[in-house]
Symmetry: C2
Subunit: 251 residues, 2 copies
DNA sequence: GGGGAGAGATGCCGC
DNA sequence: GCGGCATTTCTCCCC
């Protein structure tokens, strides 16, 4: 594929707001919230129809460089190289991708009306606890959920069997130090705004780090083992009932 | 491209540990840390040479679904459809991508020895303050930086003009509530471990949210406006001096 | 491998 | 738009 053909196809795809996938050898300069330079190497450049751009190397889940949506892209030619310039005036960011060699170029108008359905989030966990607070502690009664405006973003708000206000902070994975300080902030804010001197705090999570547990107990708070709903359910089911997931392990 | 050809090329690319780029119409099931389902639509599937996988829709910076590195992938055929199964036994995660239609398929052995050079991070900011603490407060003297083991992850550790120990917490962007609780945790930990009753805390950031500022002042801490080094420097330079973006400028 | 914290975090929701 | 916060966060560093 010649440089001219590539430039033409890129411009055409950009005009049509298609999604572009370009495998190429390139170097990258970025300037904006930070500044970066990446010397020549083979990468994949994706420009989506929302005019976001990302550059991927052959490893890692995250792009090595990217531009956010609503960026403006242009393609120029510079001595047998293609220069892809992107800028986002609003965010004061810009990027220059200098392309040495093109390995492949595809552009598509991706049609997609589906939206992902996700479960097992922290919100699902808070909902589960709100509907059945006794899984956290015997005698606990739920008062409200997602108290966002008044005292912060309290996950579940309860009253214990002795009538003491109790704040539950959910973590879907292992609770760390910041979860404890977060809980402490909610408890203190609530005590101050209500003018009461006794509010309990509970962290509900599958596990907790040792330091977090110590800080939790130092502050008189409590940890309760709670797992997010349906966590690994399908996986465990297939493991036990079907004798395990069978990929072609030779690949 | 026939299903058989596609399957063959995919298996071949997986064997060669190439990076695969597949544009297709597909549906996706994921089960692991959470569970998700995404109905049929046009997407881009990337399998990298580290055997990580990600699925991108036509918008957004983040993949709609993904598998981490060291997953195992296999391709099966099921009634005119291709079924790409991925699993990660270690993480107890798995994914099934059912492919209706293939728009394009490319695979490459991406060669890349370069690594990105990035500047303007929080670490650069802490270094700048360490080397010239008076930009935070008159009379401040730096003691150490990145005290990770003893008292927590203190960015910059100083003594003020009256000899009081002072912890500086840097944020490269706007400081929020969690920055204040973080600082508070460091201050309290240091007071306890040193057995002293007076330690100061300063947040150094370009800006701070109103609630964070209030909580900061309630706790007797202080805010100092500090911008990360070289923030937007090249951008502003090229905008003002050169009247536009000049990729070769200054390099 | 776990703990802790930054990230050019991104994305979501509420005000 | 900003604020606050979860994320299948990811990534890095250090113990």
């Amino acid at each position: 594929m010649s440089i001219e053909e590539c430039q033409s196809q890129l411009e055409d795809a950009l005009n049509k707001k298609q999604t572009i996938i370009l495998a190429c050898n390139c170097s990258i300069r970025y300037s904006g919230r930070a500044e970066s330079f990446l010397d020549y190497g083979d990468r994949i450049v994706i420009i989506k129809s929302d005019h976001s751009l990302q550059v991927h190397t052959s490893t890692g889940s995250t792009p090595v460089n990217y531009m956010k949506q609503d960026s403006v892209h242009s393609i120029e030619q510079d001595e047998k190289k293609l220069v892809l310039k992107s800028s986002n005036l609003l965010l004061k960011e810009k990027m220059t991708i200098t392309i040495n060699q093109i390995h492949s170029l595809n552009s598509h108008a991706l049609e997609d009306t589906a939206s992902i359905v996700l479960q097992g989030t922290e919100d699902d966990m808070a909902k589960m606890i709100y509907e059945n607070p006794e899984i956290v502690e015997t005698g606990l009664k739920a008062v409200s959920r997602e108290e966002q405006t008044k005292y912060g973003f309290i996950d579940v708000f309860c009253v214990d069997k002795e009538g003491t206000l109790t704040i539950i902070e959910c973590k879907r994975y292992k609770a760390e130090l910041n979860a404890v300080t977060q809980l402490r902030r909610y408890v203190e804010r609530l005590m101050k705004s209500k003018g009461i001197d006794k509010v309990r705090g509970i962290i509900a999570a599958p596990s907790i780090t040792p330091n977090a547990k110590k800080m939790l107990e130092d502050w008189g708070y409590k940890f309760a083992i709670v797992k997010p709903p349906k966590y690994l359910e399908e996986y465990d089911k297939s493991q036990t009932k079907l004798g395990g997931y069978q990929p072609n392990a030779g690949s």
